[in-house]
Amino acid sequence: MKLKQTLIAAAIAAGFAGAARAQMSDGVVKIGVMSDMSSLYADIGGPGSVIAARMAVDDYLKAHKSSLKVEIVTADHQNKPDVGSQIARQWYDQDKVDAIADVPTSSVALAVADVTKQKNKVFLISGAASSDLTGKACSPNNIHWTYDTWMLANGTGSAIVKTGGDTWFFLTSDYAFGHALERDTEAVVLKNGGKVLGKVRHPLNAQDFSSFLLQAQASKAKIIGLANAGGDTINSIKQAAEFGIVKGGQSLAGMLVFISDIHGIGLEKAQGLIFTETFYWDLNDGTRAWTRRFVEQSKGKYPTMVQAGVYSAVTHYLKSVDAAKTDDAPKVLAQMKAMPSDDPLFGKGTVRKDGRVLHPAYLVEVKKPSESKGPYDYYKVRATIPADQAFRPEKEGGCSLVN
């Protein structure tokens, strides 16, 4: 198997002679970035998440003149839960990793969350979407940044139902993430007075969606909800354009779309698509300046919200380690939840008891080719959803940490 595991010493801070030595387990704070490095989600998290994590470490050490020694290790979980939990075990037991970051693919993240809870470490989730990570399957060790299925469903779903899209048909990716996204969106549709006319579950990484699209077309639903991600979403949107679905009066709702997907589809076919993001490079001076530095290292690829989330999460983690003066997980977790987060990408945020991080979200619409002025100039921000409304209320998640 190609379990590739590269060790990268990210930053070795100059020793501050005389500064009070903090209580680090082995003198080093070690963060493991685990992601899909080579398959369908690699452009969403992957090597870009590693760049973001390294930037977070460098920026933090420089800005706070911190004496922390931080090291970053990386691994490819190949979208397989067994591979993910095996790496997590090895990291925690043998390599003295203190926290794992990113982990796209909900099924893998759920497995890694289990291991993290057993070993009592810190799990900084950015790439995984299932809202169960802070709901039914919540754990004191999970900190969930960036997004989740409830927030996507709520942001995109309610905006669409309120503007008249009240009958839905779902194209759902047949695994934990797709099911969660479909369930959460269906609840939002029903709550806002809409109806679900049907659904079809397709295998992960399907090549051809015309069959499924034809079923969606036959249902006569006004909205076809794409409860999938990555290449599956790209292929669905490309082929929906081809089969004249949008011209025929039905609309597509991408439940989880990333800027890298829009880049792969092209504005010609993606224009008008509405969805929710929590980060866009062109939001303000802070995001633009950060993105310029990111792009220098990523061969011109612009950051996704998942990669930005890794930056934000690692920053807050390091800040909390410094404040708690230890990398002992329970103390750091308590500190992360007690202290508000603040960084140029996500602004101010708070970490809730169930591990959910609250920050604003944005309802965006893809520009027409004629409106786009430069590379990755893809979105118009239609609305900002404030942090306290963007995510599921703490009481509704069914998390055992909340009473």
Binding site: I44, Q207, G244, S260, H263
Partner: protein
């Protein structure tokens, strides 16, 4: 409206047609594999990567040189075919006397390397490729909306498949090829350059994969792993049809496209496994495949 197992017949016709379109891709790809296996005895695992190269070179031609779809259809197959010839000349040729396994390992390794190189350069989320203006749009057939491009895919694939079959089974050149697989020494004794013929055959098989890649670019995601996702299914198609059987691979390609299409209606969750179930059953009953020569 009449229904079959709860599905309206109208919808069923649509799904049959879609199955036929997907079958066109299976047929094109499995045909290349069958030609290569039939004449070279090499299990060409690089086929998926070569299909992907076809789509990528079409993208590169469009973005760097401004050459559109039709030019790509003309230029890309010979270009990718030529890279195949290089591979055959310098690597595969040394393996003919060894077990199948060596060829399989070499081509599989090459596929991983090629995919890795493209992934490093272009990432995994894919690249946009627009459809030729002449083929966009479509017609309403009453039971479904048939995009013009898909109709073109079926037609082009049928012509290429039947053309290949005709050349190999019905012409003099084809008879040389077939004779060369049976007894290369004897054919060479008649003054025919067998090694060159084999090199060109491999080049042709690879060109077929690249042709399928260009055909796929406007409708599927153009990404480094597009071939890897497809190739396993295509291998199953070849095994079901009978390794090396030209007609078998064409017919099973189209046939399995239809079976898969119907599975997507009745039980979508199984749509990516149904072909392997059929493969298992066929192997139990007819180990040489449906159209393979039983030994």
């Amino acid at each position: 409206m009449t229904e079959i197992f709860g599905v309206p017949t109208q919808a069923l016709f649509g799904q049959l047609l879609i199955g036929l379109i997907n079958g066109s891709f299976y047929a094109l790809l499995s045909l290349g594999l069958a030609v290569i296996f039939g004449l070279l005895n090499i299990i060409n695992f690089t086929h998926g990567a070569q299909y992907m190269m076809g789509a990528f070179i079409a993208y590169i031609l469009a973005s760097k040189a401004g050459l559109g779809y039709w030019w790509s259809l003309l230029i890309v197959p010979p270009v990718v075919g030529a890279t195949g010839i290089v591979i055959e000349r310098f690597m595969l040729q040394r393996l003919y006397k060894l077990d199948h396994l060596y060829g399989l390992l070499l081509t599989f390794g090459l596929a991983l390397i090629i995919q890795g190189l493209f992934r490093n350069e272009y990432g995994t989320s894919g690249l946009p490729y627009s459809m030729p203006a002449e083929l966009s749009g479509g017609h309403n057939l009453g039971f479904m909306f048939l995009p013009n491009y898909r109709a073109w895919v079926i037609a082009a694939s049928l012509v290429v498949c039947l053309g290949t079959w005709f050349v190999i089974e019905r012409t003099k050149l084809g008879s040389y090829l077939r004779a060369a697989t049976e007894n290369p020494a004897l054919v060479q004794a008649f003054g025919i350059n067998v090694p060159r013929m084999i090199t060109l055959t491999y080049g042709f098989g690879v060109a077929l994969a690249a042709f399928a890649g260009v055909m796929a670019a406007p409708i599927y995601q153009v990404s480094p792993q597009m071939g890897a996702d497809l190739i396993i299914v295509v291998f199953a198609v070849v095994v079901i049809g009978g390794m090396g059987s030209i007609l078998g691979s064409i017919l099973t390609g189209f046939g399995l496209g239809i079976v898969e299409g119907l599975t997507k209606v009745f039980y979508p969750e199984a749509s990516n496994t149904v072909i392997f179930v059929i493969m298992a059953v066929v192997l139990m009953i007819r180990p040489a495949g449906l159209f393979g020569a039983q030994k």
